[in-house]
């Protein structure tokens, strides 16, 4: 057999291994309901329940932050994050959590949030623009 064919086979084998391992390493998007049933880490997309209190008291513990989140199915759960409150958290529009359920609490290892102001500037700009209109009326 030619060397190049052997090499080709090796390369293809590794390529397949890469793809399979990628696939096996991917996780799933789920809900809090799914999280209760599994021990694995998973991603949950949802948004902050702005009606409930965020808890972050750095004077008591700088590494404890908790809040209530509604997942995309509308289910609410308390989320605990070991770390400081991400900057501008209140303004987040969407949150993607990575983590797992521990008892009644969801322990997030990673929080990714989307703030409307930073990424689609035009939305926040509209509110600013209307504020100036009021000024004009006075």
């Amino acid at each position: 057999m030619k060397k190049s064919s052997i090499l080709g086979i090796v390369v293809i084998a590794i390529a397949i291994a890469v793809i399979i391992s990628t696939y096996s390493n991917t996780s799933t998007y789920g809900s809090f309901h799914d999280a209760e049933k599994t021990q694995d880490e998973l991603h949950i997309v949802g948004h902050l329940n702005k009606g409930k209190q965020l808890y972050y008291e750095p004077t008591k513990d700088a590494n404890y932050f908790s809040f209530y989140m509604l997942d995309n199915k509308g289910e609410e759960c308390k989320v605990v994050f070991t770390g400081t409150k991400p900057q501008d958290f209140e303004r987040s529009e969407q949150i993607v959590l990575t983590g797992q359920m521990r008892g009644k609490e969801f322990h997030a290892s990673k929080i990714l949030m989307k703030c409307p102001s930073k990424y689609t500037q035009d939305k926040i700009e509209t509110t600013e623009a209307t504020a100036t209109t009021k000024q004009a009326n006075i």
Binding site: T22, E41, E57, T59, K60, D61, T84, R102, D122, T132
Partner: protein, 821 residues
């Protein structure tokens, strides 16, 4: 309804828009002309050729003109234009106006067309017989890029996004129905504070020069296939490919340095999709360069060389699709959002992908593919294998980064790996091991055929030495705590350094022209060494072990508690350092927190003392944005950043005001614990929680502003010395009797969290009543910060510089070899 708007400057916008259309038109004309100039049978007819050149010149001028118009708009704060309003503000210094220039997508597209125009002119000057076909391709790319800026509606769909769109057209709001709306738009939104960094002035231009220059090897490959100059194009394209690799690599590392200096994820590389998007084409082009050199020296691997060269540019376009189309939405915080150009970007990728596939199929039978087997002990064979592995490492990056793309294509709903960084690290370390190993022993092989015994002896000797060195490094740095694959990668990198050093020392003795690749390889291997140690053994110094209140269920989380909390002026032991948050300084719009670091020796003497100033910007638009500050040592860095601080909005940031206004007295008292009155004589000491206060003396003529004292009025100041956590303060509260009534003027010592009142004079006992207001612990000024130690990170930066030097040497060598006809 046609409203006439007041105060708008429409001229620069109209002019800019005109040049955008002109640049698109001339790019198109240039493509067509160069195409016919290439294909026409009559070789003496120069008219198409001249037209092609002329239109490319006009295109260059229009691109420069677009840039000038845009600069004029931003520089003069013409906020009637959306781009200026969205990305700049009046307070921005000039050099950051330059970075606001390319903060938006339109500006960065412009940057790309600009570099492409510059490179096109260099090709017109240098490419000689290659000019016609190569410029056809470059112009075509210019057509597609400039179409991204058009921003005109065609058949109901907006094509591209223009930087000259007016604010009133970009946003719908009632205000824009007023003719004088501009009077209410006083300032722009400003630049994202994270981009207000000098690296952001030079990183994007470098990166985009890198992206833009990748069109050249692609264009040469296309030209070679198209004009059946199969063998010639490779030698001509190598210097340009090396140039692209060098610039893009520099740009990527600059970005990494910027992230390290001003972002707070705590590191220099995060495998963010945006980072991956620029590394993927870079690695593919590196593989391509190696295979091109293989072909040039041995005649083998023609197809792979061509494929990789073509693919590298298609991947550049794919990367720009990923970062600009908004498809990365849920996986990256850095990507741009969709500007309605999703399909436009897709078309861009598909056009060039089709060119690649089409040409390869069309010329398949004619390709000079060598049917002969390579020798096993030949340099070309192992260079080829190494490049294949480089390609595989890219494949892994592409497959994982593109998960959102797969989701969009196959309507699946797969989430990215829960811990992508670990996944990338492990895979890429594995590939790095293989690639660096090849990078090492291939140096001992010769093209065509090698003496095997000698090869095995040198390879083995170097392997043994590297293993010893690696063992030592692993032992010293503590890398053994990590996964085995990282140790393998370290071994590979050390081997890469040593083997190439041998080549370098030989080159210095005589074969100097071979030095370039050796230097670049050493640089790359050192970069890996630095990255492995710094990322692998970086340690959070700010381990939180102090007695914080335990929150229920917290221990179970088991995560490292990486943030420590510092009250103002209360020293905390952190690792080897005693750190104190000693104060703030405000340089609008940044809020700097001064953190004092002291290191003591066994005898308690201060051996080291420095102050770091990490900052936060409480930006109305962007929220609280923090940037770290780093103490650089030769062998490690101490990195500090603020993760939380009680500052909210810009308005509240008037720090350091020691107001004593009476109106807010009652409210102000709420900020303190219940007052405690003390009756003291001169010289007495009052002890309180954090220190003590001494009544030093009385001042019979205290300074009082705006209060005239008449004959019977008395005012006395109590001169107090306050010592809190070994720091001295003074304060002088005043007691006053005016018109038969008594008043007093309290004084605050914010840094010590105290308010002091001179509340009564008790003449019988010759005592004075001082009332002490202490701030409760929780409302005192504090910061929460994180400090990380990055060992040996300078290898990473030094390796980069060495690598670039190596590239420069190689470019000179390869262009000297080349006699362009």
């Amino acid at each position: 309804m046609d409203t006439v708007f007041k105060g708008e400057h429409l001229m620069p916008g109209h002019l800019g828009q005109f040049f955008i259309i002109l640049s698109f038109g001339t790019a198109l004309l240039s493509t067509i002309s160069y195409y016919f100039a290439t294909t026409q049978a009559d070789k003496l007819d120069q008219s198409w050729f001249r037209l092609g050149r002329l239109s490319f010149y006009v295109n260059t001028i229009s691109v420069v003109a677009i840039g000038s118009c845009l600069f004029y708009i931003i520089y003069n704060h013409l906020f009637e234009y959306h781009y200026a309003w969205a990305h700049s503000s009046r307070t921005l210094p000039v050099y950051y106006i330059i970075s606001s220039y390319w903060e938006g997508q339109e500006g960065s597209f412009w940057l790309w067309t600009f570099w492409q125009a510059v490179l096109g002119n260099i090709l017109i000057w240098k490419a000689k017989s290659w000019e016609k076909p190569v410029m056809t391709v470059v112009s075509l790319s210019q057509v597609l890029l400039s179409s991204m800026l058009i921003g005109v509606e065609v058949f109901g769909a907006r094509v591209g996004s223009s930087p000259f769109i007016l604010l009133r057209n970009a946003i719908e709001a009632p205000i824009f129905s007023q003719p004088g709306y501009l009077e209410f738009i006083k300032d722009g939104n400003g630049l994202n504070p994270l981009l207000q960094n000098y690296w952001m002035v030079i990183h994007p231009p470098t990166l985009f020069l890198g992206f833009a220059s990748m069109i050249i090897p692609f264009a040469y490959a296309v030209a070679g296939l198209w004009q059946r100059r199969y063998k010639e194009w490779i030698a001509a394209a190598i210097p340009y490919a090396l140039f692209a690799v060098m610039i893009l690599g520099t740009g990527i590392i600059m970005g990494s340095f910027w992230a390290y200096e001003s972002l707070n994820f705590g590191g220099f590389w995060n495998w963010d999709p945006v980072e991956n998007a620029s590394v993927i084409p870079w690695l593919v082009l590196i593989a391509a360069v190696h295979v091109m050199i293989v072909y040039k020296n041995s005649g083998h691997s023609y197809f792979t060389a061509t494929l990789l060269t073509l693919l590298s540019f298609v991947l550049v376009l794919y990367a720009s699709f990923m970062t600009r189309s908004g498809i990365l939405g849920e996986t990256s915080v850095h990507a741009f959002t969709d500007l309605g150009m999703f399909w436009h970007l897709v078309i861009d990728v598909l056009v060039f992908f089709a060119i690649m596939v089409g040409l390869l199929i069309w010329r398949w039978k004619e390709l000079p593919i060598n049917k002969k087997e390579e020798e096993t002990y030949s340099r070309e064979f192992w260079m080829f294998v190494g490049s294949a592995f480089l390609g595989l490492s890219c494949l892994q990056l592409v497959v994982v980064t593109s998960i959102p793309v797969w989701n969009a294509m196959f309507k699946t709903h797969i989430a990215p790996p829960t811990n992508p960084i670990t996944l990338y690290n492990i895979f890429q370390a594995g590939f790095a091991f293989v690639v660096t190993l090849f990078m090492g022993f291939t140096q001992f092989l010769k093209y065509k055929k090698t003496d095997t015994t000698r090869f095995f002896i040198t390879t083995l000797v170097y392997m043994v030495v590297s293993a010893l060195v690696t063992g030592l490094i692993i032992y010293i740095t503590g890398l053994y705590k990590l996964k085995f694959v990282f140790m393998l990668a370290m071994f590979g990198a050390v081997y890469g350094v040593l083997a190439n050093s041998k080549i370098l020392s030989e080159a210095l003795k005589g074969k100097i022209k071979l030095a370039g690749s050796a230097v670049a390889h050493i640089g790359f291997a050192l970069l890996l060494v630095g990255a492995l140690i710094a990322a692998g053994t970086s340690k959070v110094v700010s381990q939180n072990e102090t007695g914080v209140i335990q929150v229920k269920g917290f221990e179970k989380a088991g995560d490292a508690r990486e943030n420590i909390m510092l009250y103002k002026n209360q020293p905390v032991q952190m690792g080897d350092y005693k750190v104190t948050y000693i104060g703030d300084s405000l340089v609008a719009p940044n809020h700097y927190f001064k953190v004092d670091y002291k290191r003591y020796d066994a005898a308690g003497k201060v051996t080291e003392h420095f102050i770091l100033k990490p900052n936060s910007q409480a930006n109305a638009k962007f929220g609280l944005v923090s940037s770290p500050d780093t103490k650089h040592y030769l062998l490690h860095d101490l990195y500090t950043h603020i993760t939380a601080a009680p500052i909210k909005e810009e308005e509240n940031m008037t720090a350091g005001t020691t107001g004593d206004s009476h109106e807010h007295e009652a409210n102000d008292d709420k900020n303190y614990e219940p007052p405690v009155p003390y009756q003291v004589a001169v010289g007495d000491t009052i002890r309180y929680r954090e220190g003590y206060v001494i009544l030093r003396s009385l001042n019979k003529q205290p300074k009082l502003q705006n209060i005239p004292l008449t004959g019977n009025d008395v005012a006395v100041g109590a001169v107090l010395e306050i010592v809190s956590h070994d720091i001295k303060y003074t304060a002088e509260p005043v007691f006053m009797i005016k018109g038969g009534n008594s008043f007093d003027f309290p004084r605050k010592v914010d840094d010590a969290g105290l308010k002091l009142r001179f509340s009564k004079i008790i003449p019988q006992e010759n005592k004075f009543e001082i009332t002490l207001y202490q701030q409760p612990e929780r409302s005192k000024a504090y910061i929460v910060m994180r400090a990380i130690n990055f060992p040996y990170i300078n290898f990473f930066w030094a390796g980069t510089i060495i690598m670039v030097i190596g590239f420069v040497m190689s470019i000179f060598r390869r262009s000297k070899e080349l006699k362009v006809v």
